[in-house]
């Protein structure tokens, strides 16, 4: 398939309705061993027939060898399998908890999906508590389902949490920036105060620092760095550091 056309546009802003043609090349070269190169479409890209359709506005990103996606700024979360999110327990219904994750439907969380939980040893979860959990079922046609343990039955950082910290929401784009392996934003933050940070892919962040004042500062900094360039952010962080210390 023809990826070069797509490669050229990497880093550019695309709008819904932009199209790329994915032509299957007819003439197979005899000299080279041609491996069929397939473009893998991430969020914001859709294949329809021989065309690749952009369906969200944003910047086209590429990851070697041929993964493409659209990086957009949006607020509303759509559950995806394997993502970790911060949820708010809204109800206890028999054997499951109903958890609000900011999506279109409340997710269910079984009381057995906690580390060490058994039928007799129920986890202590109250309505209104925060849970850090992972999606095991998330597709458009089914009720999303969360678990608070990994495949080997360990909590691995998941479960009920949240005392003494502040929960707030930011755009999904900022969350992804925070979680990217070489996040500048995160390293900037690390230099500022010692703080605990829980990042949910659903745009919810939870921070706890040594004092209320510092927690508030971190929360406000993160919220405002949503719409800043790196130099602007660095400048702001520097100011805060000088003022606060």
């Amino acid at each position: 398939m023809q990826v070069p056309e797509l490669l050229q546009r990497v880093g550019q802003v695309l709008l819904p309705g932009d199209e790329f043609r994915l032509d299957q090349e007819d003439n197979i070269s005899l000299t080279e061993v041609s491996r069929p190169s397939r473009a893998v479409c991430g969020p914001g890209l859709r294949r329809s027939g021989a065309r690749l359709l952009v369906c969200k506005s944003g910047v086209l990103r590429h990851k070697a060898p041929n993964v493409f996606w659209i990086d957009s700024q949006q607020k509303r979360y759509v559950p995806a399998k394997g993502e970790t999110v911060i949820g708010i327990v809204t109800a206890k219904a028999g054997d499951i908890f109903k958890v609000d994750v900011g999506g279109s439907e409340q997710a269910s969380l079984s009381y057995l999906a906690f580390e060490g939980a058994t039928k007799r040893n129920r986890p202590n979860v109250q309505v209104g508590d925060l849970v850090f959990a992972q999606f095991v079922v998330a597709n458009k046609d089914m009720e999303p389902e969360l678990v608070c343990m990994d495949s080997s039955g360990r909590a691995n950082g998941m479960g009920v949490f949240g005392s003494g910290g502040l929960l707030f929401t930011v755009s999904l784009g900022l969350v992804r920036r925070l979680l990217s392996p070489l996040s500048e934003l995160r390293s900037d933050l690390e230099q500022l105060f010692p703080c605990e940070l829980v990042v949910g892919m659903n745009g919810r962040l939870w921070v706890r620092s040594c004092s209320v004042q510092q927690t508030l500062i971190v929360a406000n900094l993160l919220q405002s760095s949503d719409s800043m360039t790196a130099p602007q952010r660095k400048e702001l962080f520097r100011k805060v550091q000088q003022g606060a210390l």
Binding site: I88, D100, G162, L166, V212, N220
Partner: protein, 427 residues
Amino acid sequence: MKDTPLSNCERDFILKAIEEKKRLDGRQTYDFRRIKITFGTDYGCCFVDLGKTRVMAQVSCELVAPKESRPNEGIMFFNIELSPMASPAFEQGRQSELSVKLNRQLERCLRNSKCIDTESLCVVAGEKVWQIRVDVSMLNNDGNLMDAASVAAITALCHFRRPDVGIQGDEVTVYSPEERDPIPLSIYHMPISISFSFFQQGTFLLVDPCEREERVMDGLLMIAMNKHREICSIQSSGGIMLLKEQVMRCSKIAAVKVSEITELISKALLNDRTARKAGGRCGFAESMPQERITALKTDETLMETSDVTERANDIVEKAGAPPQTVPSPLVPAPGVGQVSQGQQNTWGLQEEDEDDDDDDDEQNGKETKMETEPQEEEKGAGDVVEISDSEEEEVVILTSETSGQAKNADSSSHQKRAAASKRRPKK
């Protein structure tokens, strides 16, 4: 739609922060958020931004008959609309508890305080008076809708100009703005509502609560006051016991805030007046922040349209002329006229067509069926036997021949066949 639930952790943190005299957005206890007042293009339209809370007020007027009890007073009407744009919890066209509360408070703040000279709105006593209508729409709810609404409403009233009227005998003429300059309302004073929220049974007090603080608070006190320090209305809700000193303190704070806000309103009105006098353009378009990256504006653009006529001609020509012939009216029975093609039932005709299609596709199936099982055909004359599988989308219809079918086709077979033929194009 439901609002996002508030977690225990947020509640605990907010209360803990308030105990330490800290607020979520870094404000001090008695600080208001930034207030921005802008005006719309026409008179009586005002936008107020209070932090992230946004409201719009529009004043309009019409001539109506006065109330019988007050024949020489104009009528004031207030309507607060909790638009679903402001919050997912708001629903269109439903009177919620909140909207009733806000409406009532605004009425008490602006109508019952007699801040507007309603007698000057009388045109003909007992017959015609002006009804002034104030519509306040919430655009974004980030807490303290009441204060924003009261500022927007009073500013819009100050900004509003009603058309001039002339009375000659019994005739009332309303002059357009071009004929005679419209007249502002006569406003005695400007009441502004200030909200105080109480936490921990009144131990802690905050001015101008934001949305999350509103959800945590125990009680709310709204004081409407003008700059002469006259209290126009006072309302406490939430069922907390307030001490006399607390109310006194609140009224003192309110007095300071009201004088600040009144100052801001008069400055905004003055700015707008000078801008309008200078002939500059004003309105929402002008208030759009140019420096933000989320905003963009273009100038008036001209378009090259030289080939438009040709293209239109082209399309029209290609489309061909519509049929000019009008079928002559037909009289099927005395007293009934009928034009157009639907004069005869064409069902039979279509039936034939479809059958032809079927034949083309599944001739083999049919023919073999016909030969092997002639008796079955006799029994269920028009019955359709479908061996279809929804997965494969291949429809095999086993029916009698066209000729036989046309005679003793009953309605059920028609329907089934129609259904089957509808499904075919998907293949």
